[in-house]
């Protein structure tokens, strides 16, 4: 089932220096429980596209068709945890803002914190946690609203390489365990190929969909293990060449 579909999405920025066509005629759909990665050269408007999907930016043209069941949660670059709130309070941000039943939300949040090993850090401030744990807390904050589509904007870009590999495994495990649909934006091809079911390659500005790859790597393996598979480099090479090739 298609959860969200983008039809002919385009975006033009206007500033005093003129107008910039950032996104042009982008079309794709996201299936339920699919993990889609969007890659593209830096400055290609990946993040902008994600923000359009999150409803933060209105596109200049085109439509976003959402099924009624679609409930979207957005996770920004860096974890965006509030330093003046404890972890337990950070993950309750969404229900607080939505004016939801806090007792229920707290119960669910506690369940998630327990399940993903953050229970003993409930009372801690974000600065007392390691980068990987902060990212996990941010992911739980996104899960608390019970979304079925999670939009992840380069969630690993602020982490060092080693933590990054570990957090990739962690995030994918949690998303799969919670049976969520996810869209991940990244500039790291390895990350995209190792995590996603499908990779959408954007061209440089104005961004259009250049190619789409269905990743046929063993889904039972962790992203780290998938990197060792024989056909992993082939995906990498093809995507890399797509990104390098000039726009038609």
């Amino acid at each position: 089932m298609v959860l969200v579909e983008l039809r002919d999405i385009s975006l033009t920025y206007h500033s005093r220096d003129g107008e910039t066509e950032a996104i042009k005629d982008v079309n794709f759909g996201i299936d339920e429980k699919e993990f889609v990665a969007i890659v593209g050269p830096s400055g290609s408007g990946k993040t902008t596209l994600l923000k359009i999907m999150a409803g933060l930016i209105a596109p200049s043209g085109g439509d976003i068709i959402k099924t009624e069941a679609a409930k979207i949660a957005y996770m920004p670059q860096r974890d965006g945890l509030f330093e003046w709130r404890s972890i337990a309070k950070n993950v309750l941000l969404q229900p607080e803002i939505a004016g939801a039943n806090l007792k229920e939300a707290r119960q669910y949040a506690d369940e998630l914190l327990e399940k993903y090993g953050l229970r003993e850090f409930r009372k801690k401030r974000p600065s007392e946690l390691s980068g990987g744990m902060r990212q996990r807390a941010a992911l739980i904050r996104t899960l608390v609203s019970k979304p079925n589509l999670m939009l992840l904007d380069e969630p690993f870009s602020a982490l060092d390489f080693q933590t990054r590999l570990y957090v990739c495994d962690d995030v994918l495990r949690i998303i799969k365990a919670e049976e969520k649909t996810a869209v991940l934006v990244t500039h790291d091809i390895n990350e995209a190929v190792s995590m996603a079911d499908r990779v959408i390659v954007l061209s440089s500005r104005p961004a259009t969909v250049k190619s789409v790859y269905s990743i046929g790597l063993d889904k039972n393996l962790t992203p780290l293990k998938r990197r060792e598979l024989k056909n992993f480099p082939t995906y990498f090479k093809n995507i890399w060449m797509d990104m390098e090739a000039p726009n038609e």
């Binding site: 979207i72 949660a73 957005y74 670059q77 965006g80 003046w84 939505a98």
Partner: protein, 262 residues
Amino acid sequence: MSEEHKHYLKKQRIRKTVIRIVQIGILIVFFGLWELSAALEWADPFITSSPSRVVKSIASLYESGELFVHTGATLWETVVSFLISTALGTLIAVALWWNKFLSDALEPYLIVLNSLPKIALGPLIIIWVGAGKGAIITMALMICLIITVISALQGFQSVDRDKIDLLRSMGAGKGKIFIKLVFPANIPNILSILKINVGLSWVGTIMGEYLVSREGLGYLLVYGGQVFKLDLVMASTLILCVMATAMYLVVALLEKIAEKFF
């Protein structure tokens, strides 16, 4: 604990004690030399006064009951103008943060008002507000208010865009973004504004008292200068030092407490 660490801790302790001794030493030497120079007439005590004369002056102020009238008046004016300017300044900054059009439109006026030496408004204030406590508080307000607005607004506007987007994606409107994010993120900034305002409201109050007053430390200073009672001038200055420092320490303490939470 290793020997090395013990040694390190001891060194730190000694350093701290020495610093404290030097600090107190400076005070003693300063007042000692001052007293000595007056006693031995190196300088004319009529012009420079002396610690003992200052103490006598304070004692006589106390006996006549004037001491608390003057310190009370100045303290009241300072605290009132400090509170009003901080609250009003923050409120105006909130309004300007809320409405980007308004803040863009008013920007040049804020710059002009900030650049203007507020003391120039003295004659106007006296005529408009009347020569009394109102004028003094208005003067102090003028001095603190604009800088509060500018610094608070700057703080509000520099909140992480990513975090604002996060809240927007959760469906938060401007009000919730302010309450949940912008305000708590700015508590440290507001506290540092408080610290600046403590100093500025003293400046404003004393300046206001120079212009119009029948009581207060600023009045004592002007009066003392006019009748050449330098003992009184020095006494008022010292009292002012103590009071201003005390108020600063109170705010600094508040900041320390708040730092634990933000």
